[in-house]
Amino acid sequence: MSAPGSALRAGSDPYHIGHAPSAGVPEYTGHGAGGPAPKRIVVGYGFWIFILSDVILFSCFFATYTVLIDARNGGPGPRELFDLHNTAIETACLLASSFACGMTSLAVARQNLLWTEIFLALTGALGLAFIGLEAHEFFGLVARGDGPTRSAFLTAFFALVGCHGAHVTAGLLWLGTMMAQFPAKGFKQTIRHRYLCFSLFWHALDIIWIGIFTVVYLIGTITP
């Protein structure tokens, strides 16, 4: 407990996350009543809201997958189709990529261009490996005649996993743009804000993948 008037008022954020004092605004109470929040907070917060909306988009595909999982139209089910080895390598790639992305954040915080570029390249390479493995799995299934048009179950599978893959691909495009922007523009505030959003996006895709890994691959192969 702290006395009124001290730096820590009731309901305030003791860690001052995002409540760095800005010009003309004496203090923040933690409920935005102290005036407009600084740009970094606004950008990060807005992007969080976007990520939440994206999670809802994925939830629709998860829901359709669970509804259609038994609608196999005489075709194969998860146990016949999925190879957990491939999925394990995919998962490892994506998680390692997220780790590299975290390292990039540290390099960006230190404004070290060389390490920023190295870790961004590593993030991208691991992401690319993930996409390559996923494409390999998809083409293999289609080649065997088990493409998305085979049954409603496969439709839902390809849509859910493919939607995640499309997000990773878009993320790679964004990552390439960021790799060009750091050397061209330096560690400007706007560029660092943009990187903050990218890292949020990249980590969020990991969380979605954990959902896919569990619901599609793990539960799919252990239940009869």
């Binding site: 009543a33 606004v42 809201i49 976007f50 998305p148 409603a152 439709t155 743009t177």
Partner: protein, 678 residues
């Protein structure tokens, strides 16, 4: 595969005179407007000040203009439908079935997505940052992108009039009818791509406004000091963020079915068409409240201002708003009780649907008690509000009737249902945005609208609405189903003739509205709002000049009360001068205008059109263009411009002088009143 995909000369409806001529008329009018703009040399001004503007007030005005123009288009569809049903008793009428089906589909799509949505979002754009006491929304450029993507969607829907055809499956494309097997044409594709593009715009608006309201408020503006309109805008935008991704996902699934042979909703391959109903209404029911809640916010502002009283039960109003926000996600199944989910499921959703009427009822009583004991001024915004309370209460009660599953089994897809949702959407949303645009018009443009024509418009609309849709309840109970191109039941005929008369009374109301704007613009010099506070308002939007400077506030206001401006005025009257001494003016950074939004929308239209007609190289080109726009935008160095302190001082001193004069005038009047009493 050819160079132009599915697009051939057959797409132009040369054999069907009605769509051809109406389409050509639209094209001619658009070309005439473009020629007039060019000839008068307005294009550079429009480009500089409007098309590339990232100012929330300008974007808001453009949203409202888009909505107004689309309202005319949607209303022409309404006249055509009413006229068809008035004529088509044992007769073919003047619209063949394929055309009639397009008309009712286009009417619903346009009225919801391109009238109600942009109107509500437009008013939020104009008002919310002003009410919060800040200079702009969180992401001004994104705001411009949102608007132009909405306009791009509207353009695609209207292109279908001349090139190809529109969707014939109703305003929601229910499968399996909307699947490729039963709807092989481009109609459903026009619908889906137009809504995907404008839906992305709406989602970004939602993100933008949630961030603005939660993170950008004037110092001292606690949650429990936010104006009611900001609260409802917050609720509405939270719903947008939570519901619009569902629409995007659902339409994406339908498109995958149609374009690459997936089996989400098909009747072959194990698809499940009822999954579409569940998904689309998981978006669709919150959508109703995305539209209605901001309208409730407008009524709260209007009723309190014109009753000269604070809003009754401010906190209960917040609870009611947020309760509706949450419960709106728990009622979607009442749109298809007849799916056969079973008595238990239907009962739960029926009860939830009835429960949502409770917070809505709380709101109605709050408005009534705000008026009670107040000094009520019957200006046009107030008339619309009172008309709303009566109309909406009746529409809400028919909704509760429909929430009873056994009753719904009888009334499902009848005209009773259609009358119900017109009763609530016209009665709540449309009346609300009409009240709102008259109320905030002087803020946006600096002069008030003509009251006499405004009152004509109100009475014609109110009477016209009831004459047009009262009969809908009757024929609905007599068993008439919706979307009938012709019929042979003699009992329905007189009612449909009455409804036809009603639609023309509404037409007179719309003419009165147009006349009101034209007359007011012509006589604007006599109706200037010099004080910036024409209605004796209570919230911060009335504390700036009309129209406000681009930066809204020279110095961000200090909020110490739930009705900040009313509080400021009261204190100023007490001390006999303005509450704040002249501040130290500082230069202000404002975001620079950018064509990013317009260019993005340009490529979105190209991509959408190419996707509809399967012109794959053009799809690629459009996507590349959109990515290039993104990179160019990301590369720019100067995204802000500086407004010098002298300019800020000049504008703010003028506003302060006007307010001081108004205060002195008021003191003088009070003193003379006191003297005459003595």
């Amino acid at each position: 595969m050819t160079l132009l995909g599915k697009l051939t000369w057959q797409a132009i409806p040369l054999q069907e005179p009605l769509p051809l001529y109406s389409g050509l008329a639209v094209v001619v009018i658009m070309l005439a407007v473009a020629a007039w703009v060019l000839a008068k040399g307005y294009l550079p001004y429009l480009w500089r000040e409007w098309i590339t503007s990232v100012d929330h007030k300008r974007i808001g005005v453009m949203y409202c203009i888009l909505a107004g123009v689309m309202l005319l288009r949607g209303f022409i569809d309404a006249i055509m439908m009413r006229t068809q049903q008035a004529m088509a008793y044992n007769a073919p009428g003047f619209l063949p079935p394929s055309h009639f089906d397009q008309v009712f589909s286009a009417h619903g799509t346009i009225m919801i997505f391109f009238v109600a949505m942009p109107f509500v979002i437009g008013l939020m754009n104009v008002v919310v940052p002003l009410q919060l006491g800040v200079r702009d929304v969180a992401f001004p450029t994104l705001n411009s992108v949102s608007f132009w993507l909405t306009a791009a969607g509207a353009l695609l829907v209207n292109l279908s009039l001349v090139i190809g055809q529109f969707d014939r499956t109703g305003w929601l494309p229910y499968p399996p009818l909307s699947e490729l097997r039963y709807s092989p044409g481009v109609g459903v594709d026009y619908y889906c791509w137009a809504l995907q593009i404008s839906g992305i715009g709406t989602l970004m608006t939602g993100i933008n406004f949630v961030t603005t309201i939660l993170k950008l408020r004037a110092p001292g503006m606690h949650y429990t000091r936010m104006p009611m309109f900001c609260w409802t805008a917050l609720a509405s935008n939270l719903l947008i963020v939570a519901a619009f991704p569902v629409l995007t996902a659902t339409l994406a699934m339908l498109l995958l079915d149609r374009y690459v042979g997936f089996h989400f909703f098909t009747d072959t391959g194990g698809g499940n068409s009822m999954m579409f109903m569940n998904l689309i209404w998981a978006w669709g029911h919150p959508e109703v409240y995305i539209l209605a809640l901001p309208a409730f916010g407008i009524y709260s502002e209007v009723v309190s201002t014109f009753s000269n009283k604070p809003l009754f039960g401010y906190r209960s109003m917040i609870y009611a708003t947020m309760a509706i926000c949450i419960i709106s996600f728990m009622v979607w199944l009442h749109h298809f009780f007849t799916m056969g989910a079973g008595a238990d499921v239907n009962s739960i959703f029926g009860i939830a649907s009835m429960i949502i009427a409770v917070p809505t009822g709380v709101k109605i009583f709050n408005w009534l008690f705000t008026m009670y004991g107040g000094y009520v001024r019957f200006s046009t915004p107030m008339l619309w509000s009172i008309g709303f309370i009566v109309t909406f209460a009746i529409g809400g009660m028919t909704g509760v009737l429909l929430a009873v599953p056994p009753a719904d089994f009888q009334l499902h897809n009848s005209l009773f249902l259609v009358a119900h949702f017109h009763n609530v959407i016209i009665g709540a949303v449309l009346f609300g945005v009409f009240a709102g645009y008259i109320y905030w018009f002087p803020k946006a443009f600096g002069f008030t609208l003509d009251e006499r024509l405004g009152k004509w418009a109100f009475w014609l609309w109110l009477i016209g609405f009831w004459v047009a849709w009262g009969p809908g309840y009757v024929v609905g109970l007599e068993g008439m189903t919706r979307r009938l191109q012709h019929y042979d039941v003699a009992e329905w005929r007189p009612w449909l003739l009455v409804a036809e008369a009603g639609v023309f009374i509404i037409l007179l109301g719309i003419i009165a509205q147009i006349a009101q704007i034209v007359v007011s613009v012509r006589t604007r010099e006599q109706r200037r709002d010099v004080t910036g506070d024409p209605w004796d308002g209570r919230n911060l939007e009335w504390s700036t000049a009309s129209p406000p400077p681009s930066f809204n506030f020279a110095v961000l206001p200090d909020v110490t009360d739930q009705e900040p401006y009313w509080d400021m005025k009261a204190r100023a009257r007490e001390i006999g001068q303005l509450t704040r001494p002249e501040p130290q003016y500082e230069p202000i950074h404002m975001p620079r205008n950018t064509p990013t939004g317009f260019v993005t929308a340009f490529f979105a239209v190209i991509t959408g059109f190419a996707l509809i007609w399967h012109i794959w190289w053009l799809v690629l080109l459009g996507l590349l263009g959109a990515y290039a726009t993104f990179v160019v935008f990301a590369w720019r160095d100067h995204d802000e411009e500086l407004i010098p302190a002298e300019e800020v001082a000049r504008l703010d001193r003028a506003n302060r002088a006007a307010r001081a004069a108004a205060l002195a005038h008021r003191q003088l009047r009070r003193e003379s009143q006191l003297e005459s009493r003595e």
